[in-house]
């Protein structure tokens, strides 16, 4: 395996996030290293999604600092995060319902497109050239995720699982540096999960994309992550390699239970 885990790329220090009286995150520190697959697990309402939202600027924590590639990151808006190469998928699918699969994925490439709206209006020439160039990239992603046959379907009509896959495609189309995945395999059967794992591993492998993954399927998490952080009620209760975490008594108590 060619993959080499690199330096810390995102470093979160003492993050606290509150919504009114609800403490979503309390004093959490952890980091993500370049090229690794970093999982976040924890019971429902533990603050996992909030964590992702903090990383890509949807939420702004009241306390704590975020270092990105070693530099302190000021208050950052989501689109700025995107410009820095952070892409993500959402727990509640956030596809653009009125658009086709192809268009949805094409939106993933918007930051790489340089033509302005006047060029788009005139189309023939620069805009068309650009459109086709990016279309080729998008087709690669489509092929990679094996969704060729639904290209022209409006996403609203797709079953849940495929929508998740399209969302992944949209994120991948951005050729992100860091990919944040919020329960990408919820609502899939084992076969589909296996496919999804394959995709994630391949992305990580071929493009060296750093991946932050939230997932409730412990099989998946333990099999594919390099390191796992465990949250409970907004607090960090465990952090380390899968095996370490699996045997951490706090984690077992709070999350894994004895049935596993």
């Amino acid at each position: 395996m060619a993959r080499q885990i690199g330096d810390v790329i995102v470093d979160l220090q003492n993050i606290s996030l509150r919504f009114g009286g609800v403490k979503a995150l309390t004093d959490i520190s952890f980091n993500v290293k370049e090229h690794e697959i970093r999982s976040i697990i924890g019971p429902n309402g533990a603050g996992k999604s909030s964590m992702l939202n903090v990383i890509n600027g949807v939420y702004h924590p009241q306390e704590g600092q975020i270092f990105f590639k070693g530099a302190l990151r000021k208050k950052m808006e989501p689109h700025e995060a995107a410009e820095q190469g952070i892409a993500r998928t959402f727990q509640n699918i956030a596809l653009f319902k009125g658009m086709t699969v192809l268009d949805n994925i094409m939106t993933g490439r918007n930051l790489k497109m340089k033509c302005n709206f006047l060029q788009h209006a005139l189309y023939w020439g620069a805009a068309q050239k650009e459109e086709i160039a990016h279309r080729i990239k998008v087709e690669e992603v489509i092929e990679f995720l094996e969704i060729q046959d639904i290209r022209k379907t409006p996403v609203g009509r797709l079953p849940y699982g495929l929508q998740k896959r399209v969302e992944l495609a949209r994120a991948l189309a951005a050729e992100p540096h860091i990919l944040l995945l919020d329960e990408p395999m919820a609502g899939m059967n084992v076969e589909e999960k296996q496919d999804m794992c394959r995709f994630i591993l391949d992305v990580n492998d071929h493009y060296g994309t750093t991946i932050v993954l939230i997932e409730h399927d412990m099989g998946v998490v333990m099999d594919i992550s390099d390191r796992v952080v465990v949250l409970d009620y907004g607090k960090k209760i465990g952090d380390g390699e899968p095996d370490e975490v699996k045997n951490n008594p706090d984690v077992i108590k709070a999350y894994l239970g004895t049935t596993h």
Binding site: N56, V58, E77, P78, H79, A81, A82, E83, A87, R88, F90, A94, L95, F96, K97, G98, M99, D103, M106, T107, G108, N110, L111, M113, C115, F117, H120, A121, L122, Y123, A127, Q128, E131, I132, R135, I136, E139, R170, A174
Partner: protein
């Protein structure tokens, strides 16, 4: 069996991303262009040109404008008529006040003026959403019309507030006959419709739709909300502005601010709803439908009921039918005529098999 795409393979992405990827559609389109661009002005009479076709074209343009804002970018607006007014009065003043102003340049400037005003009233959209925004756009509707009435400068101090559009002259040729005006309108509208289609099928359009469908996600993907929304307001107002100028110059000839009232805004909204929200072709279908329906009812209802009923009854009955049909269409197909047409095509494609 006529409408089969089987056997038509697309070898390149350029081919695949054409406006009409299917050959039958392309042929149909060019036939239509020929019919409406050449045959219609040669064959139809003045009534059809002046009273139906020209307004349909102009309203289509306004509907495209509104469709860009509401259908594509998802910002519900009830003020499109006001932007038409801005366009109409801007064109009038540019031509009036600048010696030798070419008509087409004035048209563009009128659109740009409307776009500037549109941006101004679009600013609140960054914070305000949905029906709140819709009601807020009424502020534009009422304020603009008020300002045009209130400051006589806009209407060159005409005592009645009405302005008479100057002659339309391009390169020394004056478009005076209905045929000439129709052809001019047709060309401008077709060209602008093409531009609009290009915008919505490329990255600009995708940005609008992304913001419409889910603005938080759009932001996460890297779209800038402010820029995207304001661009939608600007482009939309530009289209409405040009439509307003055409309304003054190639259709009615004289305009007063009050002509661009809330009713007209609603009418344009109807056009996009009936035609199809988020569809350029739907804008045309909707405009045609809304212009033709009352005329059709006007001709048909009295024939059905004869003189037996009072005139007031007939007029009110028409109103009821008009409203009823709008509801009916929404129920049958909330996505409008454009979608109905698409479904028809899908059925045709499968024909003679039901599914």
């Amino acid at each position: 069996m006529l409408y089969r795409e089987a056997g038509q393979f697309k070898a390149t992405y350029a081919e695949d991303s054409q406006i009409f990827p299917i050959r039958q559609d392309k042929i149909g389109f060019w036939v239509l262009m020929l019919v409406f661009g050449v045959a219609v002005p040669l064959l139809t009479n003045e009534y059809w040109l002046k009273a139906i076709l020209i307004p349909v074209l102009i309203f289509s343009l306004a509907a495209i404008g509104l469709n860009i804002l509401t259908g594509y970018a998802g910002q519900l607006s009830l003020g499109s008529a006001a932007f038409m007014a801005v366009g109409a009065f801007a064109a009038y003043n540019f031509i009036l006040r600048i010696e030798g102003m070419p008509f087409l340049v004035a048209l563009v400037l009128a659109g740009l003026t409307a776009a500037a005003v549109g941006i101004l009233f679009g600013l609140p959209s960054l914070r305000i959403k949905g029906f709140y925004l819709a009601v807020a756009t009424l502020a534009a509707q009422f304020f603009i019309v008020w300002a045009l009435v209130k400051f006589p400068w806009f209407s060159n101090n005409s005592s009645s507030g009405v302005v008479t559009a100057q002659d339309v002259t391009i390169l020394g040729y004056t478009f005076a006959t209905p045929e000439a005006k129709y052809v001019l309108t047709f060309l401008i509208v077709s060209f602008m419709a093409l531009l609009a289609k290009n915008m919505v099928r490329s990255s600009t359009g995708r940005a609008w739709m992304a913001v419409r469908d889910m603005d938080v996600a759009a932001q996460v993907i890297g779209f800038r909300l402010m820029r995207t929304k304001l661009l939608a307001f600007a482009v939309s107002s530009f289209y409405c502005g040009v439509a307003g100028a055409l309304y003054a110059y190639t259709y009615i000839g004289t305009v007063e601010p009050e002509g661009f009232n809330l009713d007209l805004s609603f009418k344009i909204l109807f056009m996009i709803i009936i035609g199809g929200v988020g569809s350029i072709m739907g804008s045309f279908l909707g405009a045609a439908f809304i212009v033709l329906l009352p005329i059709f009812l006007d001709n048909v209802v009295p024939v059905i009921f004869g003189d037996s009923l009072g005139a007031g009854f007939v007029s009110n009955f028409q109103l009821i039918v008009f409203g009823g049909l709008i509801i009916f269409f929404l129920i049958v197909e909330p996505h409008g005529l454009a979608r109905l047409w698409q479904i028809a095509k899908e059925k045709l494609r499968l024909w003679p098999f039901p599914h």
